[in-house]
Amino acid sequence: MSFTRPGLALKVREHVIRMTRGGGCFLGASLSCADLLVHLYTKVLRVTPEALDDPARDFLLLSKGHDVPALYATLAELGFMPTARLARHLDPDDVLYWHPNREVPGVEFHSGSLGHLLSVGAGIATDARLRGTPSRVFVILGDGECDEGSVWEAALVAAARGLDNLVAIVDRNGFQANVATEALIPLEPFAPKWEAFGWRAARINGHDFDQLDRAFAELPAQRGKPTVIIADTVRNKGLPSLEGKPERWFVKLSPGEVEQLIAELHGAAAVPLTSSPQVVR
């Protein structure tokens, strides 16, 4: 299978936009982490559909579970399941719903309740250490998710236990639901917080594959410490008309609007959406 990361990311975004049809999905967060997921699954993670039983493989946990459309699309494009299955998003006879679950091939664990998977990731990392395997555990957090005390509780524990096979990636798209993080609960200075908790922190542009290459080139960034990569991203990345819009987080669109957005994704001029925004918060 030959592909370029930007090309694959474009396909992932197209799948994600199609999942806004019918019942809708969390479009904003899915598009902001599409490049992260594509990079991780193509360049970083030692995991393939054929070797899920390999005890030495890597693990990716999607702790901010609402961006699962991007994960479904990435896994489908990489052969964990047929891409045709993505059309069954929210089909009552399938299990592709708004948050991840283990019945979907390639999904490691369910999430949706925020602040859970950094500690679960610490458990998997601990198991790898006990086994003596080179497995690494990557946990994608949302920036809004970092309001949860359990994130920082787990961060303390992981640092205390020196879990340098644990890597947190924060999709720093600047929003939590329909409000900017810095307007509600400011996280900055963000990297120093993690460093103060005993983590090795890096901050990059999450849509720049060169920066991603460099950030993930050498792990652990420091022996004996867990690593956090804060990836600055843009909500609804790839759709200029929606980028950075607080009201376009959970999005439910008509078939016509979906085609409109896919055209925009591929470079066409934007046409304003007519469907009303879904304000969840």
Binding site: H110, S119, V120, A122, G123, A125, V157
Partner: protein, 757 residues
């Protein structure tokens, strides 16, 4: 290098970890139970600090990779701080994480409400797939560990380090309820440290004649349903005792089961209601919060409305120092003598059968096998109202049936459906009951049988043997027959039980029927019942069994079932309705046909519904509780105990004889005055809290402990009696007026010529 000394629970975990590399121990800095394990488990002991949520998430991650995490934290913070992690990571993930909660319930002592896990069972029970294990003691916990670890389900454990509090008949089977003590009146369901209090309550209840079963409900979820339903069926009160909120814990689980399964039970929850408990050290805590054995027992007595709750200061069922005070009995008796001829409505209950001056005369209430006289003295009753109380006083099932009927009415202007229903019950139980009629008392039924037999055979003469009631035809044969025409007397002859020649001597072609009790005291000799049957058949006479004592007692179907001999008519009363007045005439359809028109047998109260409701409830209960078999077994123990005492003491002039369910103490008149001997035994038993007039009329409520107590009394009394007999000082040893004979049978009247009318 110092070797680590492990506590038993630690050693058990270490052993499991040694054979199973998947075992890991995780804690949120709660090391009390596992403080020595780090040295043994090394990297497989993980302490995350005071971070219960992270502990659960981490354990879930470990379990996701095939580990079997055993997680320790204080129960309150484990189940509440980390609740959503348990529910979301472990619960939704169905991961094999074992959650060990430290100092649950009352074990938090004086920590205060922040530390009180008294809703933990409710919370954990609410998680799909989650099991909840509440071991009674450390041994129970340790024995269960292999099964818990082998089970892929997540499980919450209420940790205990208690020394053994009860026997463990089912070690290593935590899914099963353990019956740690047997009992039939009350079932106490509890868990953990309260098992000890439940056992203490059981011992206290035993002193009041209440037998309590104690069940260690080790898993409130999934509940061992069969054991709970059996307890509900076998006892009259199910008590749940838990150091937990009443909402969502054991009581809730039991209620849910009972309602879902349609089982009926009286329930008493002993739990915390809508409050946290006052922080105290444990021994104080139990008593101050109402969970001590004494308080549990008191709550149960209160719920049962047991008369011993209202002590009047009288004697109890024990070796009392003196005879009971019977002032109110005597006062009532003085008034009765001014107004009520004979003083009693039932001869066997009257003062003539009890030592006057010592025995109580009036009883106020009864429960089970106990009665309380009007002065507040308590007795174990061996007379049981002269037979009707087959189940015992105030049996809750029968009383409920009576109360229910009472709500609808007592007696009606037309027939009541119960007449049909009870007749069908009797038809199904009694051999040969092709047709059934009801009346109120045994004498009604025997007299009706005589009239039907005379009508059917067109003969007048009747042959009888034992006691058949107060009506003319029978009582004329005794020395109490004043007021009965001589013509009536001349139509009845008597014979001697177990003497076929004496039967042959009085039965002839003029005989309408032979009526007798198939067994009273002596068992029928082989061939006797069959012989009487043959004599009747030979002369065309009917055979009538008077089954007042044998019916529903020697076997559910009475003597006809027990001895396999069929009568033409049979009469019943006593045991059939547990004290309510009901008698039955049943028998051959062709004979009973005479009641269609020719024979008049009607009375206002014949179809009275309370008694029929009692019978409708009693007959199935006699079968369900296996009353005939139970009475026989317990009676046999009593009879053998009596015989053993006599053998040990070389006493040959008294015996305990009769059918096992109803024996009597007989004295050999050649060696001892039976009336004096009976009086002496009675007065000594009364001082020991036993009401007795020579018979052991057992009911289902007479338990093993009571049989044992009575045998113990005989053990004390019979040697003293023997000494008096030997010394000739018996009459002087009586503290009151001795009992009197009932009546004497007269000789048979002179026979007129055969065929005479």
């Amino acid at each position: 290098m110092t070797s680590t000394i492990l506590q038993p629970y630690e050693a058990a975990l270490a052993q499991l970890a040694a054979v199973d590399p998947a075992v890991v121990v995780v804690t949120a800095e709660n090391r009390a139970a596992i403080r020595n394990l780090p040295a043994v488990l090394g990297e497989r002991f993980i302490d995350v600090g005071v971070a219960e949520q992270t502990m659960i998430g981490l354990a879930a991650g470990l379990a996701l990779r095939g580990r079997k995490p055993i997680v320790h934290a204080l129960a309150a913070f484990l189940t509440m701080r980390a609740y959503e992690f348990i529910r979301t990571d472990v619960g939704i993930g169905r991961l094999p994480v074992k959650l060990i909660g430290g100092v649950p319930g009352f074990l938090s002592d004086a920590n205060g409400p922040t530390h009180q896990a008294i809703e933990d069972i409710a919370l954990m029970r609410g998680i799909p797939g989650m099991k909840v294990f509440c071991p009674a003691d450390e041994a129970d916990l340790i024995a269960a560990l292999p099964a818990l670890l082998a089970d892929p389900a997540p499980c919450y454990v209420r940790y205990t380090a208690s020394p053994v509090v009860c026997p463990h008949p089912l070690p290593g089977q935590p899914h099963r309820i353990e019956t740690v003590a047997e009992g039939d009146d009350v079932a106490i369901l509890s868990f953990g440290l309260l098992i000890r209090e439940a056992l203490d309550a059981r011992a206290r209840l035993a002193a009041d004649g209440i037998s309590a079963r104690v069940l260690s409900v080790r898993m409130p979820k999934p509940l061992d349903e069969a054991a709970v339903l059996a307890a509900a069926a076998d006892t009259r009160l199910v008590v749940t005792v838990e150091d937990h909120l009443q909402t969502g814990g054991l009581y809730s689980a039991v209620c849910e089961l009972l309602v879902r399964s349609g089982a009926r039970a009286d329930l008493l929850p002993i739990a915390l209601t809508e409050r946290w408990f006052k922080p105290m050290l444990l021994p104080d805590l139990l008593a101050r919060e109402g969970f001590s054995g004494a308080q549990i027992a008191a709550r149960i007595l209160e719920r049962l409305d047991h008369p011993s709750r209202h002590p009047l200061g009288g004697n109890r069922v024990m070796r009392n120092a003196a005879d009971p005070v019977i002032a109110r009995s005597k006062s009532l008796w003085a008034r009765a003598k001014q107004l009520i001829p004979g003083g009693t409505q039932t001869l066997a209950k009257g003062p003539g059968q009890h030592v006057q001056g010592v025995a109580p005369i009036y009883l106020a209430r009864g429960r089970g096998a106990r009665v309380w006289d009007v002065d507040g003295n308590e007795y174990l009753d061996m007379t049981m109202a002269v037979g009707p109380l087959s189940l015992g006083y105030a049996d809750p099932v029968i009383d409920e049936a009576i109360r229910t009927q009472l709500g609808d009415g007592i007696t009606f202007s037309l027939m009541h459906p119960l007449e049909v229903e009870v007749a069908e019950l009797i038809r199904d139980v009694v051999p040969g009951a092709e047709r059934v009629r009801f009346s109120k008392t045994g004498a009604d039924a025997t007299s009706a049988a005589i009239r039907v037999a005379r009508a059917f055979t067109d003969r007048e003469r009747v042959v009888c043997c034992g006691y058949h009631g107060w009506h003319d035809w029978y009582i004329a044969t005794t020395d109490r027959g004043a007021g009965i025409p001589a013509a009536t007397r001349e139509l009845v002859s008597t014979f001697d039980y177990n003497d076929l020649d004496s039967v042959r001597a009085v039965v002839d072609v003029d005989t309408a029927c032979v009526i007798f009790e198939p067994m009273v005291v002596e068992p029928p000799q082989p061939g006797f019942l069959e012989g009487v049957r043959a004599i009747c058949d030979q002369h065309g006479a009917l055979l009538v069994f008077d089954e007042m004592w044998t019916g529903f007692r020697i076997a559910l179907g009475g003597a006809q079932q027990a001895f396999g001999v069929r009568a033409d008519l049979a009469t019943y009363s006593k045991a059939i309705a547990n004290g309510m007045p009901l008698s039955v005439l049943a028998g051959r359809a062709d004979v009973m046909q005479k009641l269609e028109r020719d024979v008049f047998f009607y009375t206002t109260f014949g179809g009275e519904a309370l008694s029929l409701a009692a019978a409708a409830a009693t007959i199935p209960e006699l079968r369900r509780r296996q009353v005939p078999e139970t009475l026989a077994a317990r009676g046999r123990v009593l009879r053998q105990g009596f015989a053993r005492i006599c053998a040990e003491r070389g006493i040959a002039w008294t015996r305990c004889v009769g059918m096992d369910a109803r024996t009597m103490v007989a004295f050999d008149a050649a060696s001892v005055d039976p009336l004096l001997a009976r009086s002496f035994v009675q007065q000594e038993l009364i001082r020991r809290g036993v009401l007795w007039s020579g018979f052991h009329n057992l009911s289902w409520a007479h338990r093993d402990a009571e049989i044992e107590y009575l045998v113990g009394c005989y053990q004390e009394i019979l040697p003293v009696l023997a000494d008096h007999v030997a010394a000739g000082t018996l009459a002087g040893a009586l503290r009151g007026t001795p009992v009197e004979p009932v009546f004497r049978r007269l000789g048979n009247p002179p026979r007129r010529g055969k065929g005479a009318r």
